[in-house]
C-alpha cells in the first residue's frame, strides 16, 4: 500500500528525514516510536502533504502511485488520513459543515451521490457512539473550545467518518487519560481490516497495549534504525532510547 524509499526531507535547509525506508501492506499496523526531534511528526506531515517541508530525495508510492505529487485533498480522497498531534481550531466553521463537506467530497471522488442531510446525521450519530464523543461537541466550531482529550477523540471521530485506507496517527495518545486512550485505540481497532493499514506514531508503549502492532520501528535522527515486532516496544519502554542511539551512532 505504502512504499517509502530513501526519503529525504528538509525544512529551512535543515535535513530532518535522512533516507527513510518503510513498506506498509494492507492489513498491517505499524508503530513508529522514537525520541523527541527524531522526525516522527515531519514524516507524518510530509505523507499528508504539508507544503512547508521540502522533499529533497527519495520517493513515496501509495497504491503504486507517486504520493508526493498529489495535493493534500487528493491524498485524503484516496484514503489517506492524518490524525493530528495538535488538531487545529477553526472558529466559525461548524463541525457538521466541515465533516459534511469532507464526507461528500470523498463520496464524489468514489462516484457516490452526496449524503442527504438525514443520512449524514444518522452516520454522525453512529460514529459518535463509537468514539464516545459528547454530542454537543459536534454542534460547535471545529475543535473550538475542545479540551486536549476532546480534540484527540475528535480526530478519531473524523477518522471513523472518513473511513480511510491508510491512517497515520501522530501521537494521538499524548495527553490522554486511560479512558480516552482506550476509546482512541478502540477507534483504530474498529477500522482495522484486511484492506486498511495504520501507522501509529507514539512516544510511549502504553498505546500499544491497546493497539497491537504488527511492526514496531524506531525513528532516530531521520532514519528508521531498528525494526521488530511488538516486543521491541516493550524493550524500549524498559530500556529507553539511549541504547538505540548508541547502536545507531556506532
Amino acid at each position: 500500500m505504502l512504499k517509502i524509499k530513501d526519503l529525504r526531507v528538509e525544512i529551512e535547509d535543515q535535513e530532518i528525514i535522512k533516507g527513510l525506508n518503510l513498506e506498509v501492506k494492507a492489513g498491517e499496523v505499524h508503530a513508529i516510536m522514537g525520541p523527541n526531534g527524531s522526525g516522527k511528526s515531519t514524516l507524518a506531515a510530509v505523507l499528508a502533504g504539508r507544503d512547508m517541508f521540502r522533499v529533497t530525495g527519495g520517493k513515496v508510492l501509495y497504491n503504486g502511485e507517486d504520493l508526493l505529487e498529489k495535493s493534500p485533498e487528493q491524498r485524503a480522497k484516496e484514503g489517506l488520513f492524518l490524525g493530528f498531534q495538535y488538531p487545529i481550531e477553526i472558529p466559525g466553521v461548524s463541525m457538521v459543515n466541515f465533516l459534511k463537506t469532507a464526507v461528500n467530497e470523498l463520496r464524489k471522488h468514489r462516484g457516490q451521490k452526496p449524503l442527504s442531510a438525514s443520512d449524514f446525521l444518522k452516520m454522525m450519530r453512529e460514529k459518535k457512539e463509537l468514539v464516545e464523543i459528547h454530542s454537543s461537541l459536534t454542534n460547535r466550531s471545529v475543535n473550538e473550545g475542545f479540551s486536549g482529550g476532546e480534540k484527540k477523540k475528535n480526530e478519531i471521530f473524523q477518522m471513523a467518518m472518513l473511513e480511510p485506507r491508510l491512517a497515520i496517527l501522530d501521537e494521538t495518545d499524548s495527553g490522554l487519560d486511560i479512558d480516552a486512550l482506550r476509546i482512541v485505540a478502540n477507534g483504530v481497532n474498529q477500522l482495522k481490516s484486511k484492506e486498511t493499514a495504520s501507522i501509529v506514531i507514539t512516544h510511549y508503549q502504553r498505546l500499544l497495549d491497546y493497539i497491537i502492532p504488527d511492526f514496531v520501528h524506531v525513528l532516530y535522527d531521520g532514519r528508521l534504525v531498528k525494526s521488530g515486532g511488538k516486543d521491541l516496544a516493550l524493550l524500549l519502554e524498559e530500556k529507553g532510547y539511549e541504547w538505540i542511539k548508541e547502536e545507531a551512532e556506532s
Binding site: 485533498e73 488538531p87 477553526i90 466559525g92 466553521v93 467530497e105
Partner: protein, 455 residues
Amino acid sequence: MSAVKDKKDIKGDFITIFRENRDRIDSGSAPLMNRFRGEALEHFRQLGLPSDKSEDYRYARIESLFDKDLAHSFSVNKVSFNILDIFNCDIPDLDTNLILLVNGKYYNPKKPLIELEGGIIAGSMAEAAAKMPDLVGKYYNSMAGESDDGLVAMNTAFSQDGVFIYMPEGAVLKKPLQVVNIMIHETDLMAQHRSLIIAEENSSAKLVVCDHTLSASSFLTNSVTEIHAAAGANFSLSKIQNEHNGSAQISHTFIKQKKESSVFTNTISLHGGFIRNNISARLDEEGCENNALGLYLTDKKQYIDNFVRIDHAMPGCQSNQLFKGVLDDQASGSFNGIILVRENAQKTNAYQANNNILLTDDARINSRPQLEIYADDVKCSHGSTVGQLDDNALFYMRSRGIPEREARLMMMYAFAYEVIGRIDVKPLRKRIDDLVNKRLRGELSRCNNCAMNCG
C-alpha cells in the same frame, strides 16, 4: 465639454450648477427643504470637498470621484422601461413593504406616502416635507446642519427627495421596510438623496436598504440620512451595497438617540468601485445602546472606507462597533472608528473591533481606532487585526479531502458570519447569507434582486 481639462474647479462648478438649476431643484422638492439650500450652499462654499489632507478623509480620494462629467437629474424621473417588471418577481408586495428610489428620487407617483400599521408613515421625503412641514421641520437638517463635512452641505443644497419614515409613539412595524435604491441612466450621473427617520417613544421598526445599479454608466451617490430615536425606540438599519464597480457612493448617516433607545446599523458592502460610509451617532441621554456593524467583501480595485463615530455624551450608554472585511486582488480600504466618551458620560461601555483578511500582497487596509475618553469610570476596548487566512487551518481542512478553494471559502465565510449572524431579521439574514456566499464564490456580479426575497 473639452476632452482634456485642467484640474477641475469642482466647488465652482457645483456652485454654478446650483445657481443655474435652482428653480428646477426647488420645484422638484418641497418648500421646507428649499429653505435650507441657500445656507447650505454657503456652507459648502466655505468647506469645499474633503481633500486627502483632511484628517477624516485621509485615504479616500474624494476629488477624483468628480473627475468626470456627471449629469444631474433634477427633473422628474424619465425611466425608459417599466421598473416594476424587474422587481415584480421578487417583491410582490410593492405597496406595503417596498420603497423604490430611482436615481435618488421616490418612485411611485400614485402613492407618495404610505401608511402602515400603528400609524407609521413611509414614503417620499419631499412629499412628507410638503404635507407635514411641522413634523418634518422639527427634525430636518438638525444633525446634518451641524456637520462640517462639505459633502453633507452639498447634499442639503442639492437634494430634492429621498425616504421619509415616521414611527409614532408605541408603533411597532412587524414586517421590515425595504428601500431599493436604483441607479439607471444613459450617461454618467450624480444623485444626492436625503432621508429622515423619526422614531418616536417606544416605537420599533427595521429597515433594509439595497443599493443597485441597473445600467453600466458611472454613478456617484452622495446621500444623507438622519435618524432620530426617541426614548425607548428601537430601530434597525441594514444596508446592502451592491452597485457595479464603475459606481461610487458616499453615505452619511447621522443618529441621535434619546433615553434607553437602541439603534442597530449593519452595512454590508459587496460590490461598488468606491464606497465611503460615514456613521455618526450621538448617545444623547442615559441608557442608550448603539450597535454599528459592517462587513465588506471586496476585490479588483474596489475601495471601501467606513468611518464611524460614536459620541457618548451621557452616562450609562453602551456601544459596540464590529467591522470585518475580506480584501482580495488590489482592493484597498480604510476603517476609522472613533469612540468619544465625554466628561460626564460615566459608566460607559464602548467596544470596537475591526478585523481584516487580506488575500493578496497587493490588498491594503488602513485601520485606525481612535478613542477619546474624558470620563474615568468607563469600560472601553478596541481591537484591530489585519491578517491572512490561517495556513494551519487550511491544511487541516485539505487533509480531510476538502479542496483548497472550498476550504478558503469556508474560512472566509466563517469570518464573515460573525457579522451576518447578528442580523436580526431572519429572512434577511438568510438572504444576506446567500449573497455573501455567492460574493465569496465570485458568482455575484450584479444582483438585480433585492436582499429581501419575499417570494
